[in-house]
């Protein structure tokens, strides 16, 4: 851990094979990110973690940390870029936050609040994405999918089931499930699968527990995501066996409860 790189002018130590984002989070330094999850190999698809490294823009989650690297992340230029990317994701799907049961626990929404995304910015695409309510205990609302592949990876790598996969391409890229019928009920998903807890947005939902925690008392209603992301790396919540970022468990991170509530996250974009 002797070598360092510079993040916004300050030294950040790193271990071999760590990426810039991993090293930054481990050192208590936040770089906004979305598709990165500390328990999985960095994906590099959302591009929200984009930073300027030695003058070139790169995704921090996949960029190997290297001695002497000069990384600029907290600049207005990078944050403006991130705002645009978040706006693009909002425009691409159908995100009606006030009626979404993930509201307050949603990483996309929390990022939007934190970055100061106040308007849609772009024309919305309003795609037609029917929900899958076939499973007795689980609802899939594809309208909110941001295609981060976390559920795909969790189901294959942790659960060993490969319940989810991606098909199509470009704007038609979409999540599919592992059944000839195309219905979740015909897969072998189970309520306590890892895949049930990784979705950063409100796609994979346990039925009948949606509003067990009232809006206003949820994870990102308490403190902004920039503060909480650091709790996850290394995973504080892993002790409970459940990811506090995820809807359905009804759990609010113990840490979050001890902190004073902030005003972030109360307005939905």
């Amino acid at each position: 851990m002797s070598e360092t790189f510079q993040l916004d002018g300050e030294d950040v130590p790193f271990a071999p094979a760590q990426t810039v984002l991993q090293a930054a989070l481990a050192a208590g330094r936040y770089i906004p990110h979305l598709c990165y999850h500390p328990e999985f190999k960095p994906h590099g698809s959302c591009r929200v973690c984009t930073v300027q490294a030695n003058g070139r823009t790169q995704a921090a989650c996949t960029l190997p940390a290297a001695a002497g690297l000069e990384v600029e992340s907290a600049s207005e230029e990078m944050n403006a870029l991130r705002r645009t990317l978040v706006q693009m994701l909002f425009a691409e799907g159908n995100h009606f936050c006030p009626s979404c049961e993930k509201s307050g626990n949603c990483v996309l929404q929390a990022l939007g609040s934190d970055l100061g995304v106040l308007t849609a910015g772009f024309r919305h695409f309003y795609p037609d994405r029917p929900v899958d309510a076939s499973h007795p205990d689980i609802l899939l609302d594809f309208n909110r999918c941001i295609l981060c592949e976390l559920c795909v990876r969790a189901s294959c790598e942790v659960d060993g089931k490969c319940v989810f996969a991606l098909s199509g391409r470009g704007l038609d890229k979409h999540l599919i499930v592992n059944a000839a019928s195309g219905k979740l009920v015909d897969t072998d998903i189970a309520l306590f699968d890892k895949a049930m807890e990784v979705c950063p947005v409100g796609v994979i939902l346990k039925k009948r527990v949606g509003f067990a925690v009232p809006i206003g008392q949820r994870r990102y209603d308490q403190r902004p995501i920039s503060a909480q992301a650091l709790d996850d790396a290394p995973r504080v919540s892993a002790a409970s066996g459940e990811c506090a970022a995820c809807e359905g468990s009804g759990a609010v991170s113990a840490l979050a409860l001890t902190e004073p509530a902030s005003s972030f996250g109360e307005e939905t974009p």
């Binding site: 199509g168 470009g170 592992n178």
Partner: protein, 598 residues
């Protein structure tokens, strides 16, 4: 059905890395990929069915919608449009009684468009069940329609329909080379690996696929890469995906210089100690597969492939051809490798690079078709000879694919350093307004830049040279390219997946007369976002043609703008279209006035 699938699976040894090849063959044999075939293939390969479905859903030439005996895909490059492909498409739809984009109810035929099929010098072109038919005309379409309505199998159609011309217009050291199969290897092998590699480095050869990376450095890096496992095999991959609209020089190299291509790959294998080669051939060039396999067979017989090549004990190398299935992004080297492994063609995160972690995570050298040809020339005739041709910074020659408004479209090979003006004169272009160099991901230049040179230090190019004369509207050119990028985005990263679709809809909005200055500013913003944050070159360059034409031909944009103020994207009259369709009305009373300005 299942029997056919089992035969295909067995031919590929039930190997999951063959999934794309298996799906292609299933599609050819059974006209589509039915859900139950996916089950059979998944079981046979030991893959989750969703993985198989995901791969089938990625490639445009794999169809999971419904069976259809004749799938006709019109090439939709701007050069096809300039030659009237849209009218022809409508005509064919009428002849066959089908609605564009829909399979006819009897499952007989469907007609749609696809990205440039690499026949720009002999367009308009189409693919029927994957087989290329160039030089479309009403007469030829009438024959095609007749054959379809008579349900004649495509194999029995007159060969003349499928004849593809080479249109070789100017040959230089590459296209005019006098080499016989094996000549380059006979010089290269006695040199020894190290000396051969030094020759390639010394020649200053740079990649011809677009990025211009020094070939010798790439080969050396691959040879020196340890790989993850001891005794990792080394692979040589030839990129014959040639998806950049307006580019067709690799097609002609493969049809006229196949031996040289394979010879270059074998030279590379010797230099890097490679044991297996792949040629990734774009699906649009399906018709080249049999002739290329024929060349490979001849080379094996001649001892130029296989074990102990040319008697060199221990030099074993062979080449296999994989076919793509309609995905431009698979020309990107790491996406190509994913596709070779039978997966969705998504560009990998780099580092690590293919030279150390390529095919199956083994060290892999990947080069363009033309690069391998040039490497064979260097091996045969020496680095000093080669670097004496071209300019100081750009050694050798470049093969250009010339199309568009000119008397003699086709293939032109020049030493690097030739001016655009010279090429225009040679191909018989008159009243030229603009030239798109290196395709949509390259640059668009106007008349005041025609003295610029084709060279890495000035106009670097992968080979496309599309000519537009003064009758053309450069806005429509850019709009066609915006559609291309949105159609071909792999969808992996946010900026490109969403941004290319936004660019497409903004260009359509401007075309429909609803654009404002705000939209031009939005295009500039999209360009910044894509440049700064896209995952691969496709996204980085997707706004280039729009920005280039906006800069050089701004009046063609402004002429279309409705007002210089913001205007909502919502088109009130357009929103009523569905209601009009349902009520069968289209009279003036059923339309709102969209004129907002006085």
């Amino acid at each position: 059905m299942t029997q056919a699938l089992q035969t295909i699976l067995a031919r590929h040894q039930f190997n999951p890395t063959r999934l794309l090849q298996i799906l292609r063959e299933a599609q050819e044999a059974l006209t589509w990929i039915a859900p139950e075939y996916i089950d059979t293939l998944a079981a046979g390969l030991g893959l989750p069915r969703a993985r198989v479905e995901g791969v089938a859903g990625f490639y445009r030439f794999l169809h999971t919608d419904a069976p259809c005996r004749y799938r006709l895909l019109f090439s939709d490059n701007i050069t096809d449009r300039m030659l009237g492909n849209q009218d022809l498409l409508t005509t064919l739809c009428e002849m066959l009684w089908v609605e564009r984009g829909h399979i006819s109810e009897d499952g007989l035929a469907s007609v749609d468009t696809t990205s440039c099929t690499g026949m720009c010098d002999q367009g308009p072109a189409l693919l029927v069940n994957g087989w290329a038919i160039p030089r479309l005309s009403r007469e030829r379409l009438a024959r095609i329609a007749e054959l379809i309505l008579a349900q004649a199998p495509v194999e029995t159609w007159p060969r003349e329909l499928f004849a593809v011309a080479d249109n070789l217009r100017r040959a230089d050291i590459l296209l005019g080379n006098p080499l016989q199969p094996g000549d380059a290897l006979r010089v290269a092998l006695p040199l020894g690996r190290a000396t051969l590699l030094e020759e390639i480095k010394h020649s200053n050869l740079r990649g011809r696929g677009g990025a211009g990376f020094a070939t010798g450095l790439k080969w050396a890096a691959c040879r020196d890469a340890a790989g993850d496992h001891a005794n990792a095999r080394r692979y040589v991959v030839c990129n014959a995906d040639e998806g950049e609209p307006g580019t067709f020089k690799d097609r002609v190299l493969l049809s006229t210089q196949a031996d040289l291509v394979f010879e270059g790959m074998t030279v590379c294998a010797y230099a890097i100690n490679g044991s297996q080669g792949f040629l990734y051939l774009r699906g649009e060039y399906r018709y080249l597969l049999a002739p290329l396999n024929g060349v490979l067979a001849r080379r094996r017989e001649a001892g130029l492939l296989g074990r102990d090549i040319l008697g060199h004990a221990g030099f074993d190398f062979d080449i296999e051809i994989h076919l793509g299935a309609g995905a431009y992004v698979c020309g990107e080297e790491s996406a190509l490798i994913e596709s070779l492994e039978g997966k969705r063609g998504i560009p990998r995160n780099r580092p690590p690079y293919p030279v150390s972690h390529g095919y199956l995570q083994c060290p892999t050298t990947l080069n363009n078709v033309e690069t391998f040809c040039a490497a064979a020339l260097v091996a045969a005739k020496g680095a000093d000879w080669y670097r004496g041709i071209g300019t100081v910074k750009s050694a050798g020659t470049k093969v250009l694919s010339v199309s568009g408004d000119c008397a003699r479209p086709g293939i032109y090979e020049y030493p690097f350093g030739v001016t655009v003006r010279q090429v225009l004169a040679d191909c018989g272009a008159e009243n030229t307004l603009a030239v798109q160099i290196s395709g949509p991901s390259g640059v668009c230049i106007a008349a005041d830049e025609f003295d610029r040179r084709i060279a890495f230090e000035d106009l670097a190019t992968a080979g496309a040279f599309m000519v537009f004369d003064r009758s053309r509207d450069m806005f429509e050119v850019a709009r066609n390219f915006a559609h291309f990028f949105a159609h071909e985005s792999c969808g992996f990263c946010t900026p490109c997946r969403v941004g290319t679709a936004m660019l497409r809809s903004t260009m359509d909005k401007i075309a429909a007369g609803h654009g404002t200055l705000y939209d031009l500013a939005e295009i500039e913003k999209l360009d910044r976002v894509l440049n700064q944050s896209a995952h691969c070159g496709l996204g980085h360059t997707a706004c280039n043609p729009t920005l280039d034409t906006m800069k050089r031909f701004r009046p063609t944009y402004e002429r279309r703008l409705k007002s210089l103020d913001f205007e909502p994207a919502f088109d009130l009259d357009g929103a009523l279209a569905a209601a009009r369709r349902m009520t069968g009305r289209d009279d003036t009373g059923a339309h709102l006035s969209t004129e907002i300005e006085a």
